[in-house]
Amino acid sequence: MTTILDPTSGRKVVERERLARPASLVGLTVGLLDISKPRGDVFLDRIEQRLTGIGANVKRYIKPTFAKLAPVDLRHQIATECQVVIEALAD
């Protein structure tokens, strides 16, 4: 019998339960995160129009670069200011 060593980090992933899906967006604050990909703003401009049209409040955020993780301060800001977030992931 061969015994080998585990090449992984052996990390135990903490699973977090998702928030319940809101029945309506009326009156909720929706964050729109632009990851700085070309034309992501075009997509999010249209989404903002649609959301405000149905009574949601919209806040816009931008990652400094699509190539790196969103800074922790930005993530914290979005989490404290919004109930819902939409990310424009790619062009």
């Binding site: 019998m1 061969t2 015994t3 080998i4 060593l5 585990d6 090449p7 992984t8 980090s9 052996g10 990390r11 400094p64 670069t65 190539a67 790196k68 993780l69 790619a90």
Partner: protein, 482 residues
């Protein structure tokens, strides 16, 4: 018998022998003389029937030899109250007589003859013995592979491979790998994306074993992992991008030759163990320890074959313009590597330019096209110049700076040429740059030179980069830490 602690030696005289050793065979009559005169205990490493008289105790698992540091057979040890008080190795009549207190030993034998290597220091056996007896200092979880299970298939099934078989990282292999560095297995090397756990030297050694590295490659692998996994190189972004990029490792210094890396013909290709496995080990670290796998965090649209491994050495000992590492501030003759977020190599053919001006202009024309002719300053590139191209510049006395300056001088184009929509092509630089009089293809320092390749062929290779600078990835150069 498998001992985990040192077996006690019996009081009296202990002799360790093996049949394969001619000196051991020669001293068998002496052993008989001793067995009649004193309390003698013979341990034999290979053949339990050797010698037939006096009878020997088998040390077939080499526990006695390992724990009592037998380096040569025969070795004679005096033991009193369970403690060694003296020893001699090989055959030397005077030493044996003094140690045993028996006179006139081996009267027919020459006065001395050197012994043979003990099986417990046999290079083919020592790694296994170290794992079995050495008191493993490794802390990784052990995974048992069932007797009926194929360990290679098991590792495929667990998703631990890059699509090619990997070497099973057993205790013995990982401990042997760790002999390649002076660093402790528990030392933290860096934090590996995307899961961002701290990786130890031990875990890097496991990846190096799996990749097929030899222990002497480990310092290069450790340095590559440390160079790639930081905010400057941005391994997370390089992994996650849809573009076909991965860490390209450019090595230089006398150590590349000491470990047999290839900087000559086919340097970027197959066939050299060090080139291939060092690059592969970094990828396996990111895959298995970092958790970065294709289709998950790795979102590459196409990828490229170098994502299995892309590592080569520069011929810095014959380079007319030094090495990339020196360009980045490392002292000459220091072992170093640069990690660069690059695509697969793209050819540059110019078989007619014999004047440096022509070759520089020609090379620039080729470089303008990387990623897109109308996209500028966003992407760096390394030109891996072959000796026949480099010779054209060297013969004219152009050094590295001169080559780069001249090539870059042909890479400035007006904004009107590059702006979105120009030439009927929607892709291009944003409208804000349309008025610019001149836009360079490369940011300062964005065009780099390396030197490698075979002696024949008026070719160079271009390794195009990913999003550069603070917004993407910067090339990172590090001296190798041994």
């Amino acid at each position: 018998m498998t001992a985990s602690t040192a077996p006690l030696l019996p009081d009296g005289i202990v002799v360790v022998v093996k049949r394969e050793c001619e000196t051991c065979q020669m001293v068998v009559p002496v052993l008989r003389e001793l067995s009649e005169a004193i309390e003698l205990h013979v341990y034999t490493q290979d053949d339990p029937d050797f010698p037939d008289a006096p009878a020997a105790v088998s040390d077939s698992d080499l526990a006695v030899s390992w724990f009592h540091n037998i380096e040569t057979v025969p070795t004679v040890i005096r033991v009193a109250n369970g403690v060694e008080t003296n020893r001699t190795a090989g055959w030397m009549r005077s030493a044996w007589e003094e140690l045993t207190g028996v006179e006139d030993l081996g009267a027919d034998l020459p006065p001395m003859r050197p012994g043979c290597g003990s099986m417990s220091v046999d290079p083919d056996l020592v790694d296994g013995l170290r794992a079995r007896f050495g008191g493993s200092t490794l802390s990784s979880r052990r995974i048992e592979v069932a007797a009926a299970e194929d360990e290679f298939e098991m590792m495929f099934a667990r998703g631990w491979t890059d699509g090619l078989p990997v070497v099973p990282p057993t205790d013995a292999r990982v401990m042997a790998m760790l002999e390649g560095t002076g660093r402790a297995p528990s030392d933290i090397v860096t934090v590996v994306p995307p899961n961002l756990d701290e990786i130890t030297v031990e875990k890097v050694a496991i990846a190096a074993v799996m990749a097929g590295c030899k222990p002497e490659y480990l310092p290069w692998v450790l340095t590559a992992v440390e160079a790639a996994c930081n905010d400057e190189f941005n391994m997370h972004g390089v992994l996650a991008t849809t573009m076909p990029v991965s860490p390209v490792i450019v090595c230089s210094g006398p150590g590349t030759r000491a470990i047999g890396m290839n900087s000559g013909g086919n340097a970027l290709g197959q066939g050299n163990r060090a080139n291939l496995t060092i690059g592969r080990a970094l990828q396996l670290v990111v895959r298995n320890f970092g958790g970065g796998r294709p289709g998950e965090v790795d979102r590459a649209t196409h990828g490229h074959p170098g994502k299995v491994s892309f590592c080569f050495a520069e011929a810095d000992d014959t380079s007319p313009y030094g090495s990339l590492a020196v360009e980045h501030g490392i002292e000459p003759e220091v072992d170093a590597l640069t990690v660069f977020a690059g695509e697969g190599p793209q050819g540059f053919v110019d078989q007619l330019s014999r004047e440096p001006e022509s070759l520089a202009s020609s090379m620039a024309a080729r470089l303008q096209a990387i990623q897109h002719p109308k996209l500028v300053m966003m992407f760096d590139a390394i030109v891996v110049m072959g000796p026949e191209h480099a010779r054209v510049f060297a013969a004219a006395g152009w050094d590295r700076n001169r080559i780069l300056t001249e090539v870059n001088s042909h890479l400035n184009r007006p904004g009107t040429d590059l702006v979105r929509g120009a030439h009927g092509i929607t892709e291009g630089v944003p409208e804000a740059f349309g008025e610019a009089e001149s836009l360079p293809k490369f940011r300062p320092g964005g065009l780099m030179l390396a030197y490698a390749g075979g002696g024949a062929g008026l070719f160079s290779q271009i390794i195009a980069g990913w999003v550069n600078g603070d917004k993407g990835s910067k090339p990172v150069t590090r001296a190798v830490q041994y």
